[in-house]
Structure formats: structure tokens, C-alpha cells
């Protein structure tokens, strides 16, 4: 008993010490868990837990063969907390070459007062952003982002469109299909350990990538059409130009080019005019290309046949107006086919008078003029087409040959597609599928009988024949049909004698057209006629496209 007493005493002391330490521990734990709990939780969360936005990659836009025309690549915004920058001058000197920014500008950003968040650079390529982070500058961080890239540069710039701040489509298909393309950003909670390595990653909201869009465009043809249009622009210095190539049997647009070009990668250098998609946004008076519409209507109503002859005077007086043809001639008799071949204004007016205002107006609308075609492109105009009861006494003196009404290139192409495919008017298609799902092809509706459509095509063949208005634009070996158009531009209520719109629309081959193309050149200089300005461009485009698409020569 006595031997155990010292041991018991030591044990008791030890127990007291132990209990004391335990009590201290409990008290400290209670303090940390209650009094300081909130601030410690915040500190831990800010130090170790982070919730980041994971940007959703925007869907790609590809052509009919899968060539990428627009895609997204990872990028980073570089941000800085000026409160944490101790030596701004040193940091600015180190960052300047990597950010490619002047040191004074960086200095002003790094020393910005009363803020803890300043952007130093936007959408920096990931490799460069990583090089900046490798500098290990305290206060510098990256915010993940996605950068829109157009690898083909100016190709179909107006059609594809542009994307602005916040991954928001601003124009073109980027705007029209913004909802499908942009996807949903994800939210990711990351817990880091003491050395900054993630030890727990939890996707609070999964990232959903945007859907891809496949177009009906063919990038090779698009490239060629743009090249030809650039050549026209270099030669004639027009205000603008557009060209569209279509498969008339499906109404799929194979190429849609505009001039001036737009490079979505570099919007800063683009003029305001370059943003306009003239293919759907240009209202122009079509001129002689409209004669085929007038003649088609009269043929369908059995008022004329291709062989019907008309007396063509040198000048036609109609409702107090004098109508001339482009070239002076005496009294002559021309068949309907010859009226098309030589593009006689007087002949078109005489055919139009057979139709009368009411029936003519009905046919103009039946061909789709005066309403939007419904093609999947934003900013489409509907043209200006008056109703028959709004006609003046002299309206029928110029409407039949394409003056006094405004149409868009897309409307004109859709109308000619009906002539080419045997009489069915369809909505042009430029988007083939969205997110892998094919869009339904427009069924269309018949506006011409196949026989009349064929008669028109055969008559339009004459335009390429000797003496035709586009005889120089024929391609050896190919059976082609088309129509030139030259229209004065109305300025202050009067037709200008110096400003014109030259156009050409044609198809190949005549029997079963597989390619249809329209070229419109707005206010060319050094040439005004559709046959000399637009038709050669058509020849170059189709000369390239016909073999490419396997169109057999005669």
C-alpha cells in the first residue's frame, strides 16, 4: 500500500495535467467552432474552395464536307488584384512582352485604385496564358474563356457572322442560331490542398457544349466564288457585289459570297458596309433578268408561245412614256425567244400588256417577289413590290422589264430555281443540320408547269448564242441558259444615267440544270452591262463549279 502511494500520486498529477490539457483543448475547440467559426469558414472557403465557371465551347460551323468554318478554342482572360501587386513596375516589365502591351498601360492597370479586379487581357491563347502564370506573380490569375476562331478568314464572313462579348452572336448564322451554338456554361467546385493541388472536384452544373451546324455551302466553291468576285471588284470598283450558287433541284445554296469581304477574326478593320449580307439584304431593281418572269407568266396563261411574234418599233410610246431598247434598231418582228435573247424592253412591255396589271401583279407575287424567301439568314429584305391597285398609268410600261420594283438577289435566285427545276418554288436552304439533326427540306409549291419551265430554259439558252447578250460568257462544251440584267439606279425619284446595277443569272445544263448562279454587281465603274460585268464572273464560277460537281458537258 505504501509502495503504491507515490505511483498513485504521480498518476493523479498526470491525470490532472492531462485533464487540464483536455479542458484547454475543449475550450479552444469550442472557441474555434463557435466564436470564430464564421470567419474561419470564410477564410477556408476562400483559400481552398473555389467555384469556377467552366465555359461551354461554342458549337462549330462546318460546310457540307465537314470543313470547319468557325470553331472555338480555349482561351483565358488575365486578371489582376492591384492590392496584391507589391512592385507594379517590375510586374509590368515582366508582363509587357507576354501580353504584347505597352508598359505604361500595364502600369496604370496594375496601380488602379479602389479595386481588386482588373482585366489585363481578354481571350489570350491558352499557351500564352500559361506562360504568364509560370511567372508566379502573386495577385495574377486566369479566368477561363472560349475564343471564337474563323480558320478560313474572310470565307463566307457575312453568312457565318460574328460573335461579340459574352459569347453572344451578333450577325449572320452566329446570331440566328445563337441559342443552339452557345451551349451552357458549367459550374465546378474545386477544393485545393495546402500547396494548391486540387483534392476534390465536383461539377455542380455540367458543361453542355454548343451544337454544331452543318451548312450546305461547299468551301471550295465558296473560295472560288469569292476569288472571282474579288476579281470583279478589282476591275470595276463597285460599291458592292454578291454572288450565289445554288443546286436548283434541292434549293441548297452551295456558295454565297459578298464583296467587300468581312474577316470575323479582325472586325476592327472592317467597314460598316462589309457587315451587310447583300445576298439577302440588297434591294435592287432587277432589270432585264425580270423579263423571264413576265414571259413565264404569259406562257403559263397561254397568252403567248415561244414562237409568237411581236412588232418591235424603235420607240414604244406607252402611257405618255417612251420605251427604248438598249440598242437602237428599226422596226422589226421578234419572237418571244428573240425578245429574251436580245433582251428587248419593248417586247417585254408588249407581253406585259397582254397580261394586264392585275394578272401581272399576281404572277410577280406567285414567283415569290414581295415576300421574304425564308432562307435561314438574318436581315433578309422582302423587296418593294406594289400591288396592282397602286400602279400608276405608266407602271406597266416599265414593270415587265424589271424597273419599278425591287427584289433581293435571293428572291431572284429562288424564282429562277423554279424555272430550272421544272416549276417548283422552294425556300432556299443554307443550313443542312443542327446538332446532327437534318433540317427538313422545303417541299415548295408548283408555280409553273414543267413544260413552260422547259420552254423558258430553252429560250434562255439563246442568251449565250451568237448575238445574245451574254454570248461571250459561254463555256465550251456546256449547254447553258441565262439572262443578263442592267438596271438604272433610282436617285431622288429619277433613274440615274451613270449608276447601274449589273446582274446575270444562269444555269447549267439546260435540260436538267444542276447548278444555278446569280451575280449582282452594284454600281460598277468602267462597265455597266450585265453581259460584260456580271456574265464573265458567272462564266468563271460555273466554269470551275461544273467540272467540280461532275456536271457533264454536252
Amino acid at each position: 500500500m505504501t509502495a503504491l502511494a507515490p505511483i498513485d500520486r504521480r498518476l493523479r498529477v498526470l491525470l490532472v495535467v492531462f485533464l487540464g490539457l483536455l479542458a484547454f483543448g475543449v475550450l479552444r475547440a469550442t472557441e474555434l467552432g463557435t466564436v470564430k467559426a464564421a470567419s474561419l469558414r470564410r477564410a477556408a472557403a476562400s483559400e481552398q474552395v473555389s467555384i469556377r465557371t467552366v465555359p461551354a465551347p461554342r458549337g462549330t460551323i462546318v460546310d457540307r464536307n465537314g470543313v470547319e468554318l468557325a470553331l472555338s478554342e480555349s482561351a483565358d482572360d488575365v486578371v489582376v488584384d492591384p492590392y496584391l501587386i507589391r512592385h507594379p513596375q517590375t510586374v509590368a516589365d515582366r508582363l509587357a512582352p507576354l501580353l504584347q502591351a505597352p508598359v505604361p498601360k500595364l502600369m496604370s492597370e496594375l496601380t488602379k485604385p479602389h479595386t481588386g479586379f482588373v482585366y489585363l487581357a481578354h481571350q489570350l491563347v491558352a499557351q500564352r496564358a500559361q506562360a504568364i502564370m509560370n511567372l508566379r506573380i502573386n495577385g495574377l490569375s486566369l479566368v477561363p474563356d472560349v475564343k471564337r476562331v474563323y480558320p478560313r478568314g474572310t470565307m463566307a464572313g457575312q453568312v457565318i457572322g460574328t460573335v461579340g462579348w459574352g459569347d453572344k452572336g451578333l450577325s449572320g448564322l452566329e446570331y440566328l442560331y445563337n441559342r443552339a451554338l452557345r451551349g451552357t456554361n458549367g459550374l465546378r467546385k474545386t477544393v485545393d490542398d495546402a500547396i494548391g493541388q486540387p483534392i476534390s472536384i465536383d461539377d455542380l452544373r455540367p458543361t453542355r457544349a454548343g451544337q454544331s451546324i452543318r451548312l450546305t455551302l461547299d468551301s471550295a466553291l465558296q473560295n472560288e466564288v469569292e476569288r472571282v468576285l474579288a476579281g470583279v471588284a478589282a476591275q470595276y470598283h463597285p460599291k458592292g457585289a454578291t454572288a450565289i450558287v445554288m443546286n436548283p433541284n434541292t434549293s441548297q445554296i452551295l456558295a454565297l459570297a459578298n464583296w467587300p469581304r468581312l474577316n470575323p477574326n479582325n472586325l476592327g478593320s472592317a467597314s460598316q458596309q462589309a457587315f451587310d449580307d447583300l445576298g439577302v439584304g440588297l434591294d435592287y431593281e432587277p432589270g432585264s433578268t425580270f423579263k423571264a418572269i413576265t414571259i413565264g407568266a404569259a406562257l403559263e396563261d397561254h397568252l403567248i408561245t415561244p414562237a409568237t411574234k411581236f412588232n418591235i418599233p424603235p420607240v414604244l410610246n406607252y402611257a405618255g412614256r417612251q420605251i427604248h431598247d438598249a440598242e437602237a434598231h428599226g422596226f422589226e418582228k421578234l419572237t418571244v425567244a428573240q425578245i429574251l435573247k436580245y433582251s428587248s424592253n419593248i417586247g417585254a412591255v408588249e407581253i406585259g400588256s397582254k397580261l394586264g396589271p392585275r394578272r401581272f401583279d399576281a404572277w410577280v407575287r406567285r414567283f415569290g417577289f414581295g415576300t421574304r424567301t425564308g432562307v435561314d439568314l438574318p436581315g433578309e429584305e422582302q423587296g418593294i413590290v406594289r400591288h396592282w391597285w397602286q400602279y400608276s398609268g405608266s407602271s406597266m410600261a416599265n414593270l415587265p422589264f424589271g424597273q419599278g420594283e425591287s427584289v433581293t438577289p435571293m428572291q431572284m435566285l429562288a424564282a429562277y430555281a423554279a424555272i430550272a427545276n421544272g416549276g417548283v418554288l422552294r425556300t432556299p436552304q443554307i443550313v443542312e443540320s443542327v446538332g446532327g439533326k437534318r433540317l427538313r427540306e422545303a417541299q415548295g409549291h408548283r408555280i409553273l408547269s414543267p413544260g413552260v419551265a422547259r420552254q423558258l430554259r430553252v429560250m434562255l439558252r439563246g442568251v449565250f448564242a451568237d448575238g445574245g447578250t451574254a454570248s461571250g460568257a459561254a463555256i465550251p462544251g456546256y449547254d447553258m441558259a441565262g439572262k443578263t440584267g442592267t438596271a438604272n439606279i433610282a436617285v431622288n425619284g429619277h433613274y440615274s444615267n451613270s449608276e447601274y446595277i449589273a446582274s446575270f443569272v444562269g444555269m447549267v445544263p439546260v435540260n436538267h440544270p444542276r447548278l444555278l448562279a446569280l451575280v449582282v454587281v452594284d454600281q460598277p465603274h468602267g462597265g455597266i452591262f450585265g453581259g460584260s460585268v456580271a456574265a464573265p464572273a458567272f462564266q468563271q464560277m460555273i466554269g470551275w463549279a461544273a467540272p467540280y460537281f461532275g456536271v457533264s458537258p454536252r
Binding site: 478554342e73 483534392i199 472560288e224 462544251g477 458537258p553
Partner: protein, 278 residues
């Protein structure tokens, strides 16, 4: 109810030991002396497996036969499970484990296992985090390469590069067609031969010597992704695009032309201007 067992008696090995026998399972130092038990040194009891009973078990009372008869009926699975769970605390294996010393290392191993598991979990999380970061990085790299491929296959670029080697695109009027008579086809087939690479490269070098190339194009020019010729059957390829004719064809270029027949064989001709017609 049940008489206390003598101190030196070993506990019975019943699965369902009587409640009073719990005193017999207490630790040796805390064992109470029972009245009437013999004095003197009592062998120290050690923990260990329960030994087999030294005496024959007493016959069970008659009144307990009734429940046994009741349990003799076929039990359902759930009843058997409940019975098993209820008997688990009295399972001899558990009894042996608790009474023995083996639970100490077992517990130790389990604790170490838990710690190791937590460490592994942390490691796994860390590696998952690194993998996710790597995925993001690789996706970014993939996007970048996609953009580079798309830029490299730009027909304008290919045409520009091809023009440095003397190739030009034929104009629409420079393409002529010949009738595909049987004799022409035979001559065309006879004319197809394996291209002479050495001659072509020599001609290319000579051409480059005449018009020196910039040093920035050492790699071979990639073919356009959309392919030359599109939907054509017979393909005649030039620099960037394609000229396709479905009949026997003639393609003329300024300094070089390559014609691919429908069978895939090709003929190449370098400078001077050539016409690869039958």
C-alpha cells in the same frame, strides 16, 4: 434460477447461454466470490476460446420443449435472418474474439486501414483533379490543332503555295473535252504510268532555282480536306481545287499537271506546259 457454476467450472458452450452465466464471463480480477464457494487459490482465468463443456448438459426443462417444437416449423427467410442477427452477439466466434487478444491487432489493422484508405482517397482525388485539368488542357490543344488544320487546308493558301512551284489554275476556257471513244480510252489507259518521282523532283528543283522559294515552307503541302474533284468520277487535280469531267478529258496547266484516272493511277508531268490527254 440457474445455480451458479463452481469457480473452476468452465462456462457451458450453449449458443444461448443463461443470463446468470454472464457473471462467469467477467474478468478474473473482478469476479465476485459466491457464497459457499471453496476458499483457497483459485486458478487464474485466462481469456481464450471457450472449452468444451466438462459435463453433459442437463436435459432441458419440459416447458422449453414447447418453443422448440414451435421453432421446428419451417421459418421464413426473414425470420431466419432476424434469428441470426439476434444470435450474433452470442456467436462463439465473436465471443472468442472479444475474450481473446486478437482483437487488438485486428483493431489496429483496421485503424491503419482506415487511415490508409483516407490517404488513398486523397491521392485519388488529387489525381482526378490533375486528370481533369489535363483533359481541359488537351481539349484546348485539340481545338487549337483543329483550327490549324482548318487554316492549313485553306484553298487560297494551297493555291499560293502551288503557284510558287509553277502551278496555276486552268481558266474555264482552257478546259477542253474530247469524245470518249473506245480507242481514246485504250490510248488513255495505255498512257497511264507510274509517275517518275525523280524527274518530277528534278524539274521542281529547277523551277525553284529559277524562282527561289521562301524558306518558310519546308513541310509538304497538305491536301485540301474537301478533296479534289468532289463528286466527279474522273478527277483532274491541280493546285488547290479540282477539275472534273465525266468524259475523257484534257487538262492543261501552265507548267505542271497531274491527272488521276478513275482507277487511281496517276501521271505527272512537269514543265514544259503539257496536255495530259490520250
Amino acid at each position: 434460477m440457474t445455480p451458479a457454476a463452481p469457480a473452476d467450472a468452465k462456462p457451458p458452450a450453449h449458443k444461448t447461454a443463461p443470463r446468470a452465466s454472464a457473471s462467469a464471463r467477467t474478468a478474473p480480477g473482478r469476479r465476485r466470490k459466491l457464497p459457499g464457494s471453496p476458499r483457497g487459490p483459485v486458478p487464474r482465468r485466462v481469456s481464450g476460446p471457450v472449452a468444451a463443456p466438462a459435463v453433459q448438459p442437463r436435459p432441458e426443462p419440459a416447458e422449453r420443449r414447447v418453443p422448440r417444437r414451435r421453432t421446428a416449423r419451417k421459418q421464413t427467410l426473414s425470420e431466419r435472418l432476424v434469428a441470426f442477427l439476434r444470435s450474433l452477439p452470442d456467436h462463439p466466434l465473436l465471443d472468442r474474439l472479444i475474450r481473446g487478444r486478437a482483437w487488438i491487432p485486428v483493431l489496429g489493422v483496421m485503424l491503419v486501414g482506415i487511415v490508409a484508405m483516407q490517404v488513398e482517397l486523397l491521392k485519388l482525388n488529387a489525381s482526378t483533379g490533375r486528370s481533369i485539368e489535363l483533359i481541359g488542357s488537351l481539349q484546348g490543344r485539340n481545338d487549337l490543332l483543329h483550327a490549324q488544320v482548318a487554316s492549313a487546308s485553306d484553298p487560297n493558301r494551297i493555291e499560293r503555295l502551288a503557284s510558287r512551284t509553277g502551278m496555276t489554275m486552268p481558266g474555264p476556257a482552257s478546259i477542253t473535252f474530247v469524245k470518249a471513244r473506245s480507242a481514246s480510252v485504250r490510248r488513255a489507259l495505255a498512257g497511264i504510268r507510274v509517275p517518275n518521282l525523280v524527274a518530277f523532283e528534278a524539274a521542281l528543283r529547277a523551277s525553284n532555282a529559277a524562282t527561289p522559294l521562301p524558306a518558310a515552307s519546308p513541310s509538304p503541302t497538305p491536301a485540301p480536306s474537301n478533296g479534289a474533284g468532289g463528286q466527279g468520277t474522273n478527277t483532274s487535280s491541280t493546285a488547290s481545287g479540282a477539275q472534273t469531267t465525266s468524259k475523257a478529258q484534257t487538262t492543261t496547266t501552265a507548267t505542271a499537271a497531274t491527272t488521276t484516272s478513275s482507277t487511281g493511277a496517276s501521271t505527272s508531268a512537269a514543265s514544259p506546259p503539257s496536255t495530259t490527254a490520250p
